[in-house]
Symmetry: C2
Subunit: 749 residues, 2 copies
């Protein structure tokens, strides 16, 4: 019943064949939801209210004297409802105008052009419950053209979301407001994902639709669908040009995400001018070639019937996602209409005045809302509440008939983690054979898959190299395993990360991981940043994490990537040294559901076991691995990460044999270490020990903070080189001998 | 005469109508080229050599007894020449096999599958002169599927390039070899660009083709074409999936780069398995939708006639770039043929033996080359030399008939810089109105355009925001200005950077710049890295460089980007504080033709003029802006960059009024400062002054190196926020008052 709302409003006759009613235990109590629901009526109250009708009559006769002269003003009259839609759109535009004029900032152009679409979606199409914006089975709406956020803010306000009040619209782009310059899911309820960087929202939407399809395949039964919602996304010309959209769109068709609808705001203008300047491809044929159902709506402004048909066609699709190309006029109403000048910025006084005149706004106050517009836009709210109630009943039925699946499904809704999951993580002893840290990671991941039903993910065509295949769980959307938990992303790193954000923010308890070589974090950098900004707890598994990868050479050898990722606010970058640290890393990464993690792992086997590493200590970010100083301070501290920690330990052994007091510290995660209390940090790195050496095969930038002014940073300041692992390590000084040499030089000073 | 070589070999009848001879001054001396050319014969020497023919007879009868039984062994016989091609491909495969077996590393699959294409391109299609691999008017060949580099290494060797000897093939992937694991233009002559990260080569190829089209539009005359070459690029499934390829391909069609031919190695395998796993779109229809001429070659292994037709069709195209889809068998010859297992890794002994048997290699030594194969493959060399000589004559004619254009063209060939160009850069005084640094940049760029004929570039649809439009130079490939120097990239940051690398490495003296918001450097990160790795002196102009951009909010506010870019080896990241520093930055950036620069510029006006900044001092990376300490050491040093330098200066004024000795240092480029002699660095930041404050609205990581253990780093550790510039700056402590407060706290300790 994805666009069941179309059935609610009598002007839209039921184009869809009615579904057989789901067999519900009508008398049972509903499955307990996170929010309890007040009782509501299930019928449209406006149908019964003569005053509402009369108020509309006055309003419409004033606004559209010609169109309304022959009108019956019957709520079941299609023409009347179309004029209501239109007046709602007028009001939307006035709020957009008032907001930018007051803010002296913002991007009105797209929002003005898409006002009718916004009204139509929020009034007739989307399933949502403003009183519980996080209701699991709601439709997901993504504004990939995030600069058009005013469209969504105003829609959310009119539709009854508490998160956007008139006061919020008045504070557009003000520090601390709930209406920032681009939509942020962590700031405003009703916003699903954080968008603005173009194309990201398209990938997010594919991720949201993937999550739905995956959960539906796993949990729905022939007699009851507990997962059944749709994903809508609006994108602009900018999104259409970005490669990430193309990657994501290719995957959406490959995965047959038929419940995804992409609405393309084809306004033929970008910031620099007409799209003729740089965008002349046949975009509809593009999407067709990718495998999409493509529909063009020539004019959405004069009436919405063809858009409505397109939405219904999308609803009927059983295989393909749907691409609806809507031709619009950017900056509709303004003097700047149809030009790139309307993209951002405010309107001059004269223009503002004319815009208000055009919609017969007379002398209404800024931020005025026609009372009937609120009522019309909020019918969906009651309907959404009813849908949520139905869904809860379904869940109850599901629980009684499919108790085992229900436990798993419920655990997902509550975060995807069963108590004690971390006990499944393997431990290693020094008698185990040496492995690459990517090998240790593979074992962790496959153990976790058994206890974390939400763990799902894949690689950008490097599953075997990244060692991230979940061996017992099949491939998502392959014929034999529609609910498989391995996602085959192909060579599409950027889309992979954007899709992972969508999966993480879907709210269905999925824990997405995404894997590639560390050097290719470059391709997905902005999406990784957005994981951190939008609180998406994606686990990035990045193997081949240094020049130690060897033969593939400098194009594949990350150097600057560790520090570049460490600098992203909130994100946790881990570089575990061995199996036990890798287990510890997963424990922290999985537990942090609103913070993304990047796990940097070696391609090459670690050179030696390090006694003293600890899974539990990883949570502190840095800790003492070994120390022979007894009650004294050490003479020197060797600090390592990842595959270089064993060089520190090896060097320490040599120095200790020569009578030196040496401490070895693993600094597996800078940010977590930085967050420790000062006493702990001073305990690990005592200020009284100025002789320190850091050993990490990456950029030296940032290490001074830990080694102090007299310490030595062993890092890589150039690009690496193609060669065998040990040759490459030697060339750049990453040998036990060199670490010892540097340490001795320090000790002799 | 792009595939004139097809005419050389008599088996390929002249499908192309002969061109009217260019009117050359036959008696004149040729235009002086960088390399002098030995005399060569203009006819194919093999036509006259009976021994060559006889040797082939033995070789072919042994290798292909059935096919050769009815053969005439006449060099003009088409069937004979096809068998020669085939035998060359066999030899290519044997060298590929021997190389990976010896290296115990490498990616043989693609190289084995594309052997025939390699032979065909290097033997019949490409225009090149191995004795002068950098001859300007050569065809450009890019292997975007860089992991298949063995294909190119072996072709270069057989074709007579000195850069790849048999000894080099034996040292595949060894440290310091000329045959690294992915092709690097800085290591191996004959490699145009550095590839490996998938999709980059496609964008590079578009850049190379753009450079040709641009120069041709500017310099060619109806009677003489001094710029006339083609660009060929091989891409694989991985490249096809990457968004950057899509972006670049869209632009190639938009710009009508008809001399670009993209050969798609459609082997239906990626690392993780069949392309069915993740890649099921209709790629040919894709390229058609983008506006390409698309051709499919069903089988390139049994004979090359359809590939030849495709190449000729591409040659005849006058509007569209050409996409040739070639269906191949990955790992051809091996047991692993046709499977993803052939992608990388060596072959077992049994497989190796069988592969050699299949091509009747008998007991030939590893790395054996049939002598006739060398001779056949090197006919192109003589031909290329002849073409270079012709081109030199054309240049001479051009110089005499179009002396003015010739001066400019010649200056481009010699780096694009006329002496004294730097004097055109503007200077500013404190009486000038305040501007944003992006505003100062606009003036620099437009001045430079007048004196640097090679300066060309554009923005990813933010020309007006980035302020990079060259006002007097039109748009490239727009009807009114085919030779325009503004490039409209659309919203395609990644392709923009990859294309800029191609332009920089074309060798035609162009100086590409590429602009977007600093936060979107994320989208182009890998291409920026490759600029540095491949010595492409691209100038990246990145505006909106901090939280100071204000209302657009955290999705658009760079925080971690400065340090992330600083960590890229070789690259110069600049953050100028005002007009004079901006001029200084351009002076260094333009002069560094083999080092990329990123110029971070403010959206907002700087808050005050800073006396004491210097254009010339920028070259040292850091310098003293002001100091009231006289002969003494300062009590405190305030270090700033960009729009925060004036906060340091403002705070210094306050402190000085209170009797403090304060130094202000601008650290406009870390790397250049780090490269200064120790004395200079200690003069600017004396070890005897432990009280230091750094002020930069970005990640604090790395600043400890400059402020020392007791200093304070004022940075941004969180994501920013939507709000007015001054509100946002205040929230994060970037006010004169806060700098003063922090400084006083330090001074009181």
């Amino acid at each position: 019943m994805a666009i069941s709302s179309l059935l609610l409003n009598p002007i839209y006759p039921p184009h869809l064949p009615p579904k057989p009613p789901t067999r519900l235990h009508k008398t049972s109590k509903p499955f307990t939801c996170r929010n309890s629901l007040p009782k509501t009526t299930t019928t449209n109250p406006l149908l019964k209210d003569p005053n509402h009708k009369l108020s509309w009559k006055d309003e419409l006769q004033n606004a559209y004297p010609n169109e309304s002269s022959a009108l019956e003003f019957d709520v079941s009259d299609e023409k009347f409802q179309e004029l209501v839609d239109r007046r709602c759109a007028d009001n939307l535009r006035m709020l957009i105008l008032d907001s930018v004029q007051k803010a002296k900032a913002g991007h009105p152009g797209m929002a003005l052009g898409m006002a009718e679409i916004g009204v139509f979606l929020y009034r007739h199409v989307l399933k949502y419950n403003p009183r519980n914006p996080r209701w699991f089975n709601r439709d997901r709406f993504v504004l990939s053209a995030g600069h058009g956020c005013l469209l969504q803010y105003v829609c959310l306000h009119l539709a009854g979301f508490q998160s956007v009040q008139i006061e919020d619209l008045k504070r557009l782009c003000k520090l601390g407001s709930r209406t920032p310059g681009h939509p942020e899911n962590t700031v405003t309820d009703g916003i699903e994902v954080t968008t603005g960087p173009l194309g990201q929202g398209v990938a997010n939407a594919v991720g949201l639709a993937l999550a739905e399809a995956h959960l539906a395949a796993r949990f729905n039964k022939p007699d009851v669908s507990v997962v059944d919602h749709r994903t809508y996304c609006i994108m602009g010309d900018g999104c259409a040009m970005e490669g990430i959209s193309h990657e994501a769109a290719s995957l959406a068709a490959h995965w047959k995400l038929n419940k995804l609808t992409l609405i393309y705001d084809d306004n033929r203008n970008t910031i620099d001018g007409s799209t003729d300047l740089a965008f002349t491809e046949d975009i509809s044929l593009q999407f067709k070639a990718l495998g999409w159902n493509t529909i063009t709506v020539d004019d959405n402004h004069s009436n919405m019937r063809s858009f409505k048909s397109a939405v219904l066609a999308a609803y009927r699709e059983t295989e393909r996602p749907t691409f609806i190309r809507v031709k619009t006029r950017i900056g509709k109403l303004s003097k700047k209409e149809g030009t790139s000048k309307a993209h951002h910025g405010i309107f001059d006084e004269d223009d503002e005045k004319q815009m208000k005149q055009k919609v017969k706004w007379d002398n209404r106050e800024p931020f005025y809302v026609i009372p009937m517009v609120y009522r019309e836009m909020q019918v969906q709210a009651d309907h959404g509440e009813e849908l949520e109630r139905d869904w809860c009943s379904k869940l109850y039925y599901y629980q009684s008939k499919y108790p085992q699946e229900a436990v798993e499904f419920k655990s997902l809704l509550y975060n995807g983690m069963l108590p004690g999951w971390e006990n499944s993580l393997p431990t290693w002893s020094t008698s185990d054979p040496l492995d690459a840290t990517r090998g240790y990671s593979e074992k962790c991941l496959n153990q976790l898959a058994k206890v974390l039903p939400g763990l799902i993910g894949g690689s950008a065509d490097l599953a075997s190299s990244n060692k991230v295949y979940l061996h017992d769980y099949g491939d998502f959307q392959q014929p034999a395993s529609p609910g498989g938990r391995n996602i085959r992303y192909g060579v599409r790193e950027h889309a992979m990360a954007g899709i992972s954000n969508g999966i993480a923010l879907h709210g269905g308890g999925l824990i997405p991981f995404a894997a590639t070589f560390l050097v290719f974090s470059d391709y997905m950098k902005n999406s990784i940043r957005l994981s951190a900004l939008s609180h998406a707890g994606v686990i990035y598994i990045m193997t081949h994490d240094s020049i130690g990868l060897g033969e593939d050479g400098p194009t594949h050898q990350p150097v600057e990537h560790l520090v570049g990722l460490r600098a992203i606010p909130r994100l946790l970058l881990f570089r575990p040294a061995d199996g036990n640290e890798t287990s510890g890393v997963y424990k922290v990464a999985v537990a942090n559901r609103t913070v993304p993690s990047v796990i940097a792992l070696s391609r090459q086997k670690v050179l030696a076991h390090v006694e003293g590493t600890s899974a539990d200590a990883v949570a502190r970010g840095g800790y003492i691995v070994s120390d022979n100083s007894g009650p004294n301070l050490p003479e020197i501290i060797l600090i390592g990460t990842g595959s270089e920690l064993c060089l520190c330990e090896g060097s320490a052994s040599v120095l200790r044999k020569e009578g030196r007091r040496v401490r070895v510290v693993s600094l597996v995660c800078w940010r977590l270490f930085d967050q420790q209390p000062a006493e702990y940090k001073e305990e690990v790195l005592p200020p009284g020990v100025p002789r320190r050496v850091s050993v990490e095969a990456g950029s030296p930038i940032g290490w001074r903070e830990y080694v102090g002014p007299e310490g030595v940073v062993l890092g890589v300041e150039e690009f690496g080189a193609s060669g065998a692992h040990l040759d490459t390590f030697k060339k750049y000084g990453f040998t036990e001998e060199n670490v010892t040499r540097v340490a001795k030089r320090l000790l002799s000073q």
